[in-house]
């Protein structure tokens, strides 16, 4: 069993994980796959899985069962790749994809990117909604709102081209130069480095606003291009 688990190969792709099974009896293979997933729940949770079963012939009920047990583990099976036409047909019958673009080497490398350069920012072109937590070891730029119940925890600055109403911690590892900017600001919580802003102090600031540490205190001011240059 341990040998089988070790023989399962997992690759990261742009649209999910590609898992290749070693071949052998289906019962043992699926058990090994599940054991692998259960042993690394954090890694697999919410993953999109493409399964390469080689020449294995899978019956409809076997595939359905696998999809169900995977979905119980919060893993969605979206593709089954096989050399067997029977298995391919079965997969198509269940609405699963049977082709995936193989990962190109350069894409795989980007998965373990090195330390993040100072001028690198994470760009998020969407509204960050309640229940979402974004952690990033640099600056984050949000093109959209940060809604109540959402959290940004960034080591650099947080720039929100939208309304900031959630919780933000900029300079989370102690960078007092970090700033928080938003077009409209009414946060649930706002902290820069180790200084928390008394959110009651900002009474729904209209217009572009910048929050930063100046003279040892956290200050709320109008966000103007002239002053922003120093940040």
């Amino acid at each position: 069993m341990d040998d089988l688990i070790a023989a399962i190969r997992i690759k990261g792709m742009r649209d999910g994980l590609l898992v290749s099974l070693p071949g052998g009896a289906w019962d043992e293979q699926s058990a090994a796959l599940l054991a692998q997933i259960d042993s690394q729940q954090g890694f697999f949770r919410g993953a999109r899985l493409a399964l390469d079963v080689g020449s294995q012939v899978l019956k409809v009920n076997e595939m359905v069962e696998l999809r169900d047990v995977l979905s119980e583990r919060n893993v969605s099976l979206w593709a089954v790749i096989s050399e067997s036409p029977v298995t391919e047909q079965t997969a198509q019958l269940l609405g699963l994809a049977t082709r995936v673009s193989k990962p190109r080497p350069e894409e795989q490398q980007s998965l373990d990117a090195g330390p993040i350069a100072e001028d690198t920012a994470l760009y998020l072109n969407r509204t960050i909604r309640s229940g979402t937590r974004i952690e990033f070891p640099g600056t984050v730029v949000v093109l959209g709102d940060v809604n109540p119940g959402a959290e940004l925890v960034v080591q650099g600055s947080a720039i929100v081209w939208g309304r900031l109403r959630g919780a933000v911690h900029a300079g989370s590892t102690g960078d007092v130069e970090a700033v928080v900017c938003a077009l409209e600001i009414a946060p649930m919580r706002l902290q820069i480095a180790d200084q928390a802003l008394e959110t009651a102090a900002i009474d729904h600031e209209e217009g572009p606003t910048m929050v930063r540490i100046r003279d040892g205190g956290i200050k709320v001011e109008a966000w103007q291009s002239a002053g922003a240059g120093q940040a």
Binding site: V64, S71, E72, R129, S130, G131, P148
Partner: protein
């Protein structure tokens, strides 16, 4: 004919998902569409009560999934509308009795012979919710003009975006115009502002909704009810008609705002 699958969801409980499913289904069926409602709240079923069909249940969705009956046997026909059927939830089981792929399979079996399949999602964002959205072509997020309901709706929309479910639409239920005027309730505009998704209906607070739910006759069948009218309007929008939002004239600016919201995204 291939049915559109619409799931109604909310995150928070008690905002009126079940009532909305029943009323939209009734309004669609009254217009001649063939509609099936599926109660996705396994273990806490109540869509049958709201539709007045609880006495007719013989089989439920778990019986279908576990092979004790044919799908057709679990479909209960409405008392008044020939085109409306209900697939009830099981009362004695829980959410784990159904998997997302079961829902997809059942909906695919129903699609060829119907126009609309409406799924009533349970509250929460766990298994039952995942089941309910698995087969959905569209999701309507139901919310009340209250901070807690809007917060949960926001969370649900976030999950739908992550699941890549195409453009969810919003139903604001139980809006009390008098309270909004006194600034004691969030306005439709406030809610839209925060959630940033297109609106498909605003339903005014209306006591007749509770009375008719208890009687098992959804208000959409009552031509005098304001809430009933709002649900009938939603049904029309589902069918692709352009219907102005009720009270849009009185609350100046809302209409413009709605148009803007549509353009966004």
């Amino acid at each position: 004919m291939t049915a559109q699958v619409i799931t109604l969801s909310s995150g928070k409980g008690g905002v009126g998902k079940t009532t909305a499913v029943a009323n939209i289904a009734v309004a669609l069926a009254a217009d001649g569409a063939k509609v099936v409602c599926i109660d996705g709240d396994i273990g806490l079923r109540n869509l049958d009560v709201v539709l007045g069909l609880e006495n007719r249940i013989v089989y439920d969705i778990v019986d279908v999934i576990e092979g004790r009956c044919k799908l057709r046997q679990a479909m209960i026909r409405d008392k008044h509308l020939a085109g409306l059927h209900l697939i009830p939830a099981a009362q004695t089981r829980d959410k784990t009795a159904v998997s997302p792929s079961d829902m997809v399979r059942i909906c695919n079996e129903l699609r060829p012979e119907h126009d609309y399949i409406l799924i009533d999602s349970p509250a929460g964002i766990e298994r039952g919710f995942r089941n309910a959205i698995a087969a959905a072509d569209r999701v309507f997020v139901v919310t009340n003009p209250e901070v807690s309901a809007v917060r949960d709706a926001d969370r649900v929309i976030g999950i739908l975006e992550a699941e890549e479910k195409r453009g969810p639409a919003l139903i604001i239920n139980r809006l009390n115009a008098a309270l909004v005027r006194q600034n004691d309730m969030l306005s439709a505009e406030d809610v839209l502002d925060l959630l940033g998704i297109p609106l498909i209906g605003i339903v005014p607070e209306d006591q007749t909704v509770i009375v008719s739910s208890n009687h098992g006759t959804p208000v959409a069948q009552d031509p005098r009810s304001r809430a009933g009218q709002a649900f009938r309007n939603i049904a029309k929008r589902v069918r692709g008609e352009e219907v102005p939002f009720m009270g849009a004239d009185k609350q100046g600016g809302l209409w413009d705002r709605l148009q803007k919201m549509r353009g966004r995204r």
